[in-house]
């Protein structure tokens, strides 16, 4: 078996809102204010193989972006391990750490907020590779121009500022910036969510072309199941900070195992005319401040049992390459 390029083991992020000074004083007088904890990601395990496209799907607040930000080194983690090519980032030498940081790049959702409005495209794309000694400063312009052509922008625009470009073009600048440091893994956090359908198609095609050309691995985060189904090899479904199902794309879409995955798929709008009756998922995502006990999905699950309310199911293999966290799988096995 090939070694995973990236492995997450029990990755957890807890955001803590401490008790304020006023709260401490109030506590002296008998008020019982406690610090508030939110587990944005609760023990995420995932292995990504080289060259794979892994889609991560979930509703807002499920922790998918938190996981991405921990990987890209934007936010710190509370617990767990990140292994890059088999080496835990806690055990890395300084050189390995630098390589890891360069080889994992991120493309953001909002092409308006993720580019510095006061920098020319030449510097936005060219700053990092020069700084890290990937190319000499004298070759910066040629390098940036070549990269711009690669992502479908004219190199003649290198001296322009971000506001002179459309949304789709800006997203291409973001892609060129990520590619500039020769990454191995690219994290796309809702990278096409803000784009029109026709521009989205162009950018998705570009991702696939670049994958073939540079041998890239993608972590593709999206709430759009249609996009994920199109682009991913494997799909991870997250709910309230936990992974509830992992499966190869085709298996997942033809035979979803977890009740949440099944409900998500029923919600997916399809280009199929005719009276479509949505069977809405009952209720909303519970607040991560007070997650329900047991299985986090049980209040909305049509098949919840007493056990689901008491005991959190573990993510377990249910078939080859497939994992799911649902008590119902035990019942069918018996």
């Amino acid at each position: 078996m090939t070694q995973p390029i990236l492995e997450l083991r029990g990755l957890t992020k807890t955001f803590v809102k401490p008790v304020s000074v006023a709260g401490h004083i109030a506590n002296l007088f008998g008020a019982r204010q406690k610090k508030v904890e939110v587990r944005a990601a609760a023990g995420v395990d995932l292995a990504v193989l080289p060259g794979e496209v892994v889609g991560i799907v979930g509703e807002s607040g499920c922790g998918k972006s938190t996981v991405a930000r921990m990987l890209a080194g934007i936010s710190s983690r509370t617990e767990g391990d990140i292994l890059w090519k088999g080496v835990s980032d806690r055990a890395m030498t300084a050189d390995q750490k630098r390589d890891f940081a360069l080889q994992v790049q991120m493309i953001f959702q909002d092409p308006f907020a993720s580019l510095n409005p006061r920098m020319q495209v030449l510097d936005i794309i060219g700053e990092a590779p020069v700084c890290h000694g990937i190319i000499p400063a004298s070759e910066k312009r040629a390098y940036v121009t070549a990269l711009m052509e690669k992502v479908g922008l004219s190199g003649a625009y290198a001296d322009r500022f971000p506001h002179q470009f459309s949304g789709g073009q800006r997203q291409r600048i973001g892609i060129a910036r990520a590619l500039a440091v020769k990454p191995k893994l690219i994290i796309c956090d809702e990278a096409v969510a803000a784009l029109d359908v026709s521009i989205q198609a162009q950018v998705l095609n570009l991702f696939m072309d670049l994958r073939d050309e540079f041998g890239l691995t993608y972590l593709f985060i999206s709430h759009n199941l249609g996009v994920v189904e199109h682009i991913s090899d494997r799909v991870v479904i997250m709910y309230l900070g936990r992974v509830v199902e992992i499966a190869p794309t085709e298996a997942l879409f033809s035979d979803p195992n977890h009740p949440y995955t099944r409900l998500l798929m029923e919600q997916l709008p399809v280009l199929e005319p005719g009276a479509r009756d949505y069977q809405p998922i009952r209720g909303e995502l519970p607040s991560p401040l007070a997650p329900p006990p047991g299985c986090p999905f049980h209040p909305r699950c049509p098949a919840a049992t007493a056990r689901c309310r008491a005991e959190a199911p573990a993510l377990r293999p249910i078939a080859a390459d497939r994992l799911s966290a649902c008590h119902l799988n035990d019942r069918t096995a018996v």
């Binding site: 029109d196 198609a201 199109h230 280009l271």
Partner: protein, 327 residues
């Protein structure tokens, strides 16, 4: 024509232009739409196609430098373009309501939900606070909000995005309007919440006989919702028809391209179809068909603007070389 046959809304040759320093932006340039009572129309187009401006024009929400420069908007026998502002104001929120993309645009952040809903009722009817509150509660139940009494006491920031949008929909429905214009109401929401809202809005329109214009860039969303679809490009409606006709048998190359570029199971492992080029700037549109620069089938003929070709009841497109002819 009797009142029952007459369309509820008939937009004819509507032109909304923005007079900017850089020139005249023809955001809406000759749009025709008709809508019968209780009908759901999906108005589809990409950013800058003029779909939202069409919606705003119907409500009379165009601010300078924008102006309705031509055409007529017939609503229930009256022309909204020439209607005095005071009368238009009486229609707005009563007979025609709007749902915006961002529910925080609709809700006042410093007022409780009940205050805002009672205000919406009392603005149009002489009715007691108690009766207005009862009505507010009833519509909250109708849009599927659990424990409506508590929600009425809440401020907008205490509610989730999906809940806020549902309250915005409830406020739009509260005066039992005859027409609702919904501008990308589910774009900012999760798929599961989107499913719930589409389900509820559709059921409500069927029950109350309210007509609905659902503005969106996502054909897949309106495919399961709308009775008819109108596709807009560069300020014009380029194709209309029943939902099934437009999606199964698109005639305009732009509609065909839009449908082909939606990722799905069938496209897995293949490149997506992509419409070449970009939406043209509305400041200097190419002469003739605005889509010709991106169209694979454009010829010399396309330098003159194509007229609307009608091929059946409510089925029309604006193209010299429709897909059907080429087969």
């Amino acid at each position: 024509m009797t009142a029952a046959e007459r369309p509820l809304l008939s937009v004819e040759r509507l032109q909304t232009h923005f007079h900017t320093r850089a020139g005249v932006v023809k955001a809406v340039d000759g749009v025709d739409l008709t809508l019968r009572r209780g009908e759901i129309l999906g108005l589809v187009g990409e950013s800058g196609s003029g779909k939202s401006i069409t919606g705003f024009s119907i409500l009379g929400l165009i601010d300078p430098p924008g102006r309705i420069s031509g055409g007529r908007i017939g609503f229930d026998g009256r022309d909204l373009v020439t209607l005095p502002e005071a009368e238009r104001r009486r229609l707005r929120g009563k007979d025609i309501a709007m749902i915006f993309q961002d529910p925080s645009m609709t809700l006042n952040p410093v007022l409780r939900i009940d205050t805002q809903m009672i205000e919406a009722v009392q603005a149009h009817e002489k009715i007691s606070r108690q009766a207005a509150l009862r009505r507010a509660r009833d519509v909250l139940v109708a849009v599927g909000i659990p424990s409506p009494d508590e929600r009425l006491q809440a401020y907008p920031f205490e509610l989730s995005g999906g809940m806020r949008q549902r309250i915005a929909i409830a406020i739009a429905m509260i005066n039992r309007p005859r027409l609702i214009i919904a501008d990308e109401p589910t774009t900012a929401l999760d798929v599961s919440i989107q499913g719930q809202i589409i389900h509820e809005v559709k059921a409500l329109c069927r029950q109350t006989g309210t007509a609905l214009i659902w503005i969106t860039h996502d054909l897949a969303v309106v495919a399961g919702l709308a009775d008819r679809i109108a596709v807009m490009y560069a300020g014009r409606v380029v194709e209309t028809g029943t939902t099934a006709e437009v999606i199964r048998n698109p005639q305009h190359p732009y509609t065909q391209g839009l449908i082909a570029s939606v990722p799905s199971r069938e496209t897995r492992g293949h490149r997506l179809y992509q419409i070449p080029g970009m939406t043209p700037s509305l400041l200097n549109l190419p002469p003739g068909c605005a889509f010709s620069a991106r169209c694979a089938h454009a010829t010399e003929t396309c330098r003159t603007a194509p007229e609307l070709t009608e091929t059946g009841a409510g089925r029309a497109f604006r193209c010299w070389h429709p897909v059907g002819d080429r087969r």
